[in-house]
Symmetry: D2
Subunit: 142 residues, 4 copies
């Protein structure tokens, strides 16, 4: 348990399953977005507010490894942490697990690198306040 | 066959199936949107251009009846026609069928009523050019 | 407030928005599914269990009217109630509202008719236990 | 141009956009699936048939880098090739580009590693016929 990670929970929707009987693989990346939204919210500012202030965080790279399959109605826990902060980008890492009777089963690990864009979609630096909070979240737990 | 209807075809994506082994029901309404986009394109103007000119068509009502299930990799045909034109709204009707070896199997019928909005999301009248084309499409085939 | 209605809440995901800046219209019907899943869960049996026991509820008809638009990060409340029970089908009605500081703003009303299918996708009657619970939920609040 | 790559084309759906005004990032991975489905179809057997014969290809790893954004109504071209074949897995690579007046603009590069599963979701070897075709597709163009 990382002191700086945030924890989000969702329940798998029927709409997220596919005919293999498990969750279609791209939805895990939607859950990652929920994780990083909650992580940013823990700084005291929502991503929605951030976007209205003229800063967008666009996914520039994503990678994910699947270990087990989520199923309909599963309770899924997403643990999100900041693993790298650059002047114009931030990288989040995610651990995704199914939770049953309090027991977690690891399902997937993912990383996404996000770049800051202005209202016109041009690259910009991260706002200093956000960058500071991301850097603090990055510090190793003590 | 209605002279004024347009015909669109798509192939069912794996992502559109659910664990019942068939297409998740809301995706048919996404196909309807493809149908009406193609219908508008047949007027010589894309919906994308229309939106850039400051007119949005937002779905105000939708209804759909399912008769049979679409499956992964099916070729699906969407027949789209205009059934009502008002000063600020237009209603499209859709017939959705699976096509196999040239034989159509009816799968669903739907209707959507769209209202015209300006860039700020306020109601507005349909542009006169668009309205005229929609009214012409509405005329009974002779 | 209907004594027999159930209340579900979700937060709008970024993935659910479209370039109009609001939620894409079909996602409201996904939220309805969350509503009816929670409604069935309130009977003491999950829909997931129901499906494993050989009963599927497939959407046969859906209709929805939109009054206002949901936006990213909105908290959305779905009120679900049973409005009709037949031997092989059940109809749910939904009221969808945005909640802000405890104030609800009505966004959409929907209905879906679901038919019972067996494992092979053939029509079947509703299991008697489920039908009884649905009929009880149907009774007017006193 | 690789002799062994296959080319797929889709048109961006409104449902695929998000409020940033561009395609939501996970949909590119859905397009990759369309690419590999077409690639497998080029062997003379559809993935749908493969699945009915008891072989499923489940995504075990995915990575994607975004260079430019796709927009509503863009025509998108997906070039798919096989880059690694193992006894129980195959890795595909994808180049995704927007096409406008015949000119391609690179938008994203992706890779997905798929593992073969049987009907019960247990790992299995690739069927020998499929493996042979994948290995042939892997050969450098001459």
């Amino acid at each position: 348990m990382n002191r700086n990670e945030t924890v989000s929970e969702i329940r798998v929707r029927y709409a997220e399953t596919d005919q293999m009987g498990v969750v279609y693989h791209t939805h895990y990346l939607v859950w990652c977005e929920i994780g990083r939204t909650d992580h940013i919210r823990s700084f005291g500012q929502s991503y929605a507010m951030l976007e209205r202030s003229g800063v967008r965080l666009a996914v520039a790279e994503a990678e994910i490894r699947y270990a087990a399959s989520a199923r309909y109605d599963d309770v899924v826990r997403i643990r999100t942490r900041v693993v790298r902060v650059q002047s114009r980008a931030v990288t989040f890492a995610y651990e995704i697990a199914r939770v049953d009777d309090g027991v977690e089963t690891h399902m997937a690990s993912a990383r996404t690198r996000l770049v800051a864009l202005d209202d016109d979609g041009a690259p910009r630096t991260l706002p200093s306040g956000l960058k500071q909070r991301l850097c603090e979240a990055l510090e190793p737990a003590t």
